[in-house]
């Protein structure tokens, strides 16, 4: 059970939270390409390493917020409010090692997978 630092309430047990998927997936209903829209709906980075994800402090202050977590160690590096940009964690080599060989976030362009 994780201990998640809510940006409003401080560290609280995972039982109070609801996970809400990857963060910073930009919603643009004007996208004309079905592939691009499909990628928005479904494609996820699913990073092995540090990931930006959303949580809601559902049984708490009710706020959605973002969280940088290492999906290998499950360590939480930072939480920040919705709307704020993803913090640039200039991790030193030692921290990276401790977090387990952190793969850079694959910010690959939306897959044209379909064709």
């Amino acid at each position: 059970m994780l201990l998640i630092p809510c940006p409003y309430c401080g560290p609280r047990p995972e039982l109070e939270f609801r996970h809400a998927g990857e963060a910073h997936v930009v919603r643009d209903p004007s996208l004309s390409s079905d592939a691009a829209w499909g990628a928005f709906l479904y494609a996820r980075s699913n990073t092995r390493g540090v990931i930006a994800e959303r949580w809601r402090h559902a049984s708490g202050c009710g706020r959605f917020f973002n969280c940088l977590r290492d999906t290998v160690s499950d360590n939480i590096l930072q939480t920040y409010k919705t709307g704020e940009p993803r913090p640039d964690l200039a991790l030193d080599a030692a921290t990276r090692r401790q977090l387990g060989d952190v793969a850079p976030d694959q910010s690959v362009a939306a897959t044209e997978a379909a064709r």
Binding site: M1, A35, R44, N46, I51
Partner: protein, 417 residues
């Protein structure tokens, strides 16, 4: 050496000194293969076996970063059934069901497929509607799945509590008699042995770290922890790690990897004759041949590659199990572990091409792919060998996430596996 009772007895006279390796373990990979399968789980090994056995491709290798069967194949609760809702799923899972029937003979390896019945409990009107819909759809497809009254359910599984005053009374159940379990490790080992016998190299402790592509963008090889290997065709069957492997080729997939936990009790004398699942209160249980109760828990809520999970998942599972089976409350948990399952938005697998020529994927089996192992390997072998899907796997291609033509087993049924 052929596996048989006769050979067992013969070997027992020579103190079992005559048995040899069940599959070859080449010290080093060859510099090039006609195809490489990434992932030595049941699906990957089955793929290689059918490629060799049915498509004559024997210059191929299965590349496994750890030990074969050490992924979800070695961690799953082994429930086998094919009573899915949509025709595409019915065809796929029932294809596997057909192959299970005689798999032990086909592989000359006792995979202990045990069709002891898989029962799914209905607790409310909605469950009844959903399960009956399955029963009817399955009948049309020729899949055995029957509707049971609570009393009939109790006849099949006498330890069920069907009293009306429970918090979640059992109002009925569906039963697939051919559903059941199999010995997970044996499935991996049996396919490995049979594939190896046909010439397939099984490379363990060999992690794929990069995918090489030629000027046209097509696959040209892989970089592994044991050096580069050339190939023109790659089948990725890496379950929870699929996104990571595809990331090496710059492809983002509709997948998220979650920890899924399971646990076993201490062994006890036979108590449960069949598999029982309750999706409404999130519990499922069967008993292994050794006597442990094998219990599946839910997924954790977040992406993780840690093969563990939270305590609250186990507590929620066990309160449900004790609720359904009050006599197990005093039994004890022996071991609790996790696997990493790759979940798609529609809870159906992705089988087919990727945007990268020569790179194929078979993934997204999520919480329920063990049952499909033979079928999945069989259809994917066709895909990798011929470059094209077959009739059964065609609907499971990646482009459904563009068109919206999902095969949404979750939406229709809220069934997790």
């Amino acid at each position: 050496m052929q596996f048989s009772l006769l050979n067992l007895i013969r070997q027992s006279f020579s103190a079992n000194q005559g048995w040899t390796e069940q599959w070859r373990s080449p010290a080093e990979p060859k510099p090039a293969y006609d195809a490489i399968i990434i992932g030595g789980g049941g699906h990957g090994l089955a793929t290689a076996y059918y490629m060799a056995a049915e498509h004559g491709m024997t210059n191929i290798a299965v590349v496994e970063k750890g030990w074969i069967g050490g992924g979800n194949t070695g961690r799953n609760t082994t429930i086998i059934r094919s009573n899915y809702l949509w025709e595409e799923s019915e065809a796929l899972y029932n294809h596997a069901m057909g192959l299970w029937q005689d798999l032990s003979h086909a592989l000359n390896y006792n995979v202990m497929y045990s069709p002891r019945g898989c029962m799914m409990l209905a607790h409310n009107t909605h469950d009844v509607q959903v399960f009956k819909r399955h029963v009817h759809a399955n009948r049309l497809f020729g899949i055995d799945n029957q509707w049971l009254s609570p009393e009939e359910a109790k006849d099949v599984c006498p330890i069920l509590d069907i009293s009306k005053n429970m918090r979640y009374p059992i109002v009925g159940a569906s039963l697939q008699r051919r559903g059941g379990v199999a010995r997970h490790d044996a499935v991996a080992w049996g396919y490995a042995r049979a594939a190896s016998a046909l010439g397939v190299d099984i490379l363990q402790k060999c992690e794929v770290k990069g995918i090489r592509r030629d000027a046209s963008g097509a696959v040209s090889g892989v970089d592994t922890s044991r050096g580069p290997i050339s190939t023109k065709k790659i089948g990725v069957v890496a379950a929870g790690n699929t996104s990571t492997v595809l990331g090496m080729a710059g492809v983002r997939l509709p997948l998220e990897s979650f920890p899924l936990q399971a646990l076993v009790s201490e062994p006890i004398k036979p108590l449960m004759p069949c598999v029982v699942m309750s999706n409404t209160i999130h519990a499922y249980m069967s008993q292994s041949d050794k006597g442990e109760l094998v219990i599946g828990a839910g997924t954790d809520a977040y992406i993780s590659y840690s093969q563990t999970g939270g305590l609250h998942i186990a507590t929620h599972t066990l309160d449900a199990i004790c609720e359904l089976f009050p006599m197990v409350r005093r039994l004890r948990m022996l071991r609790n572990w996790g696997g990493i399952v790759d979940v798609t938005p529609d809870r159906s697998p992705i089988i087919g091409k990727t945007p990268v020529p020569g790179l194929f994927i078979n993934c997204g089996w999520g919480t329920g792919g063990f049952k499909a192992t033979p079928g999945s390997g069989h259809v994917f072998a066709h895909q990798v060998a011929t470059g094209e899907p077959n009739r059964i796997s065609a609907p499971f291609s990646l482009d459904r996430f563009v068109s919206g033509r999902l095969i949404d087993e979750a939406a229709a049924a809220a069934v997790a596996h």
